[in-house]
Symmetry: C2
Subunit: 346 residues, 2 copies
């Protein structure tokens, strides 16, 4: 223990993850003229002549972000890359390179690492990115993976979190909530298995949700469609912590409010049934579940026709004045304040 810890001791949990990041990085000035965007978006943006370099990094820790009891190493490798690429796409940019750093205890064999890297390679193949560097080191216990994704984008095409304007339409891709429900399934089956190792897991009918949890995909396809259709969203973020939390980020950084229509929030049918099986509210799973890696973005209403007929894009609400707050209009026609994290087990 360090001397400063003896004197005053504030538990890190008191600030929360975002609060802690804000606290720790509050006194770092940006001095390099090439730094266009520092902390506070899906990725940092660095100027290099006409093209910008877009950089995002994520750390995944065994026992916190993944449990190897039910996560195959190949899936873990794949997912670790995809979650980073998702951040680059969320800037309207295309990832080109990654670096992968891992710390591992000696309980991992070379064969186990081969599995992990087979997953990393599969993601590099699928998204056409190059592995260009990293670090491999030992750890006293467990595994930690840190991936940095590097993308490229024309400066005037980068989409930040702070560009949403009153009247903009809120769009969301794919469907939400399934990854969270997949995790519930896996954790439940693991508990059952621990209590009775002879039982075989019953994962039938939940393949979609489990696939969403174990092998998510990033929405490169839609960023490609944006380019093809000449559509530039006014703001964008990827859904890693849940749609509600991401709406709050967009509203806070853009200085606006929002109205979300429950009817517009896309939920897969299997996920809907699974939620009910777990006695969870499907809309709560969709809004707060997280790990969907879909894109949440806003568009100028004049661009409505550019998204209206596209598959897999749903208009889920509208940007309001900041004073109007952040609201959810339920299917029953009731207006609630949207909560960034509100698990309701009923």
């Amino acid at each position: 223990m360090n001397a400063s810890e003896m004197q005053g001791r504030t538990d890190v949990n008191t600030l929360g993850e975002f609060g802690l990041i804000e606290h720790l990085t509050r006194e770092f000035p940006l001095r390099q003229p090439s730094t266009i965007k520092g902390i506070g978006d899906d990725a940092a943006v660095i100027e290099n002549g006409d093209l910008c370099t877009v950089v995002s990094t994520d750390m995944l820790v065994e026992g916190i972000h993944f449990d190897l009891a039910y996560t195959p190493l190949k899936h873990l490798g794949y997912k670790s890359v995809v979650v980073n690429l998702s951040d680059i796409y969320a800037m309207n940019a295309f990832p080109k390179q990654i670096t992968v750093s891992i710390a591992i205890s000696n309980r991992y064999s070379v064969e186990a690492l081969d599995e992990l890297y087979a997953g990393i390679r599969a993601a590099c193949d699928a998204y056409n990115v190059d592995l260009v560097g990293g670090d491999t080191t030992s750890s006293p216990r467990g595994m930690t993976i840190c991936i940095t994704a590097i993308g490229q984008c024309e400066k005037d095409l980068i989409v930040y979190r702070n560009g949403a304007k009153k009247g903009d339409l809120i769009c969301v891709t794919g469907d939400l909530g399934a990854a969270y429900l997949g995790l519930q399934m896996l954790e439940r089956e693991q508990r059952i298995w621990q209590d009775n190792p002879d039982l075989q897991p019953d994962l039938e009918g939940q393949k979609y949700a489990i696939g969403r949890q174990l092998k998510p995909e990033a929405r490169r396809d839609l960023v490609e469609v944006f380019r093809k259709n000449g559509l530039k969203p006014t703001s964008m973020i990827d859904i890693s912590d849940g749609m509600a939390s991401e709406i709050f980020h967009i509203c806070k950084q853009s200085g606006v409010g929002a109205l979300i229509e429950e009817e517009g929030v896309p939920i897969n049918q299997e996920a809907q049934l699974l939620a009910l099986k777990f006695k969870l509210d499907p809309i709560t799973c969709a809004l707060n579940g997280g790990e969907d890696y879909e894109l949440l973005f806003t568009i100028d209403p004049k661009d409505t026709d550019k998204v209206r007929f596209l598959p897999d894009i749903y208009i889920a609400g509208e940007i309001l004045d900041a004073a109007d707050g952040i609201k959810l209009n339920t299917k029953g026609g009731k207006l609630h304040d949207l909560k960034a994290q509100g698990w309701v087990h009923f």
Copy 2:
């Protein structure tokens, strides 16, 4: 444990760090036209028009790379940044931005993290780099830090490990071995303290070595001098694992051999005395100690005058044909094969 581990199990230690990296990354093709250099140098190089982006990443794990019993968190933060910047300078490039990811257990207070970030900030101030991103997450135990440094360089000024040619002079900056000896001091004092907590540490006369271990600096000054003098080394690497190991990297990648003159290897006087106190051979400490973060580089002999009169640069040998091997000419005039790792406790 994963199924693949059950079948065949190869211990990760059998391959060594470099062997493991080579094994894991052997099947990753480079497909992006912007990837100029992938794995295998101090940093990756990415093309962006006229300027290249240079990227390097390092992971530091508590209990492996640092021991908080004798490493103040502020120093740890500073050093974590500097070791990454050193890799960027080793490409003849200038670092501009960093991302910092940390995983921490809840035994760290906000105040402890403030100390760590004060050190990170001090390094950003000293080297004029911007903190632009990162990740902050929990860990079940201990602390892991992963830093990615991003630099810029004109494409034709980047210096790789593979450009050394027969007849080139081998140069080294600063002095070597002191950081390793500083670590020996700190570890010895910790053992004494553990055996007898009432004893005060006796670190007098070892301030230089301990400073080199706890608060190393990267050689920005010399890369600036290279620019000013119009000097472009033919190859370059930073000394993190020891000069001998780095010479092997240069020779392997350039397809050459080398002759190192013991007389030309710079050793600080305090380090010399400290080595003898520890009954270690000073030249072995200098060649194999590591963590000096000096630069090892080769120059065309026609550039000799550009370095001859510069302070803090020493000519330590000459590049030979690959067939001549990698040799050390001792002060006594004996020719030995240089060993990349050869600790001799006499």
